[in-house]
Symmetry: C2
Subunit: 328 residues, 2 copies
Amino acid sequence: MSIRIGIYGYGNLGRGVENAIRQNPDMQLVAVFTRRDPASLEIKTEGALVYHADELSKMTDKIDVLILCGGSAKDLPMQTPEMAKLYNVVDSFDTHAKIPQHFENVDKAAREGKKVAIISVGWDPGMFSLNRMYAETILPDGKSYTFWGKGVSQGHSDAIRRIDGVLDAKQYTIPVEAALDAVRSGENPELSTREKHIRECFVVAEDGADKCRIEEEIKTMPDYFADYDTIVHFISKEELVRDHSGIPHGGFVIRSGKTGENLENNHIIEYSLKLDSNPEFTASVIVAYARAAFRLNNNGETGCKTVFDVAPALLSPKSAEELRKNLL
Amino acid sequence: MSIRIGIYGYGNLGRGVENAIRQNPDMQLVAVFTRRDPASLEIKTEGALVYHADELSKMTDKIDVLILCGGSAKDLPMQTPEMAKLYNVVDSFDTHAKIPQHFENVDKAAREGKKVAIISVGWDPGMFSLNRMYAETILPDGKSYTFWGKGVSQGHSDAIRRIDGVLDAKQYTIPVEAALDAVRSGENPELSTREKHIRECFVVAEDGADKCRIEEEIKTMPDYFADYDTIVHFISKEELVRDHSGIPHGGFVIRSGKTGENLENNHIIEYSLKLDSNPEFTASVIVAYARAAFRLNNNGETGCKTVFDVAPALLSPKSAEELRKNLL
């Protein structure tokens, strides 16, 4: 019997989850829930239905895990606790500073509903967090570094679009190669914000807009760009669509640490991702954790979990025997 | 109260475990057990005692976790089941083909003794296994690659030493850069044994030995060298000691996989290790899993586990709140 999945929210992430479910034969998409008019949505899974979000409370006997594909700013802080009373849920809440509060809210709701909720699943938070934790635990005397990119930052792209005279924009976060090399050498360098990442911007300006002023406004924008070396390119609308429509991302988690009687031996642990599609990869991680949520709840567990709390074997469709025989 | 550790076997790995315990303030080395004369062992931990292995059955109330530092060929198949009846244990059993049988034997003993045993801990098997599993589960449509090195292979070094006329030798396994690049490009190449690794040998020959014959014997040795491109250097005893006394190792686990409606997006997950000391890094992983073994048994669990079965948070000395706040 396959694991019956519901998706709440059908943007880039929701569509990614739909695709990922098709790559996992033990899972089945039952329904997509939307706050839009259900008739306006065209999904790709035969046999799955589209419902208005108002119907969410009525499907509890037909769905094993509900995957929440809303945004971290406005949707998930409300939706995840609400839904964790009714369903096993997985979300990708990624506002790092607010995770402890979100955890408390979701934990209370999931215990009340006797469900399992796994929050902050994806790659950062998610796989990167796991790798930070494993590496720090193995090498207590050391230093950890996280680099992001090369990839599109939605928040920074949006910030540029709000500038007067800008029609559209894409911003890439790029790790500085020299910084990566210094970390890999075991030097444990102290790196400033500027030394770790470059920001490269592709901007479509309105006809006749003052490009010098736009470039200046970008480069001096506090929080977003002022602390970085920022490169600005003005291109045409056509070039933006042709060359910058993808949503690639990735990054590096590196720990450099020492062992030995006099800490004379150095070790480098490096985990990296190079992703053609940020939302599709995030969705693939989420779907694996949906399998774990289902199994944990079947084993009688309830409450909120993160990637730290989930034994790796619970993610895999393979049996424990198969894993030991073929992957250990 | 700290976790009280015993070490059984005081070779490179045992000494590495002793050092690693000193890097973990919540742990304390209580005793080292040896089959040699205890008076012949000089350990570095003040307050810890050295006992003959015959005393192992008498310390069950003084040790929380016994770390088994013997070899996989002859020691662990006997020792781990025997000790799992008395103690929570961790071993680094690394004969991949025999893991299922070892698991069965240890599981039976640990259940009998109501203890937790975690087997095959280290980096391969161990962290590499975990990364193979996480990556394969996240990207079901893809291909996984494991490369080893650059590092010393003890087995291959020993094989060279058995050749007539050879006084000493060190063999390095080296991944082929072009193969790594092909994998990282997402091409999913089929790679032969020869295409993946080079074997480089540093050999000290007896005075007057026939170096041509030795080189030929190395390069044509079945299983060990015949299927590889092998480089042989003859050097002096002094050069071997000066330049090749370390035990570095490492390697790469790479998965390349596709997502999307038509599998049009490629993703690369890469995990790599660059280790100055193979046994010390292995020891550092083992010590983290000793913490988990202690906690699992305290929670009422018994039986044999592998890295796949252990929730990541159990490895860390930090609380769940701390992990969520600072590492998620």
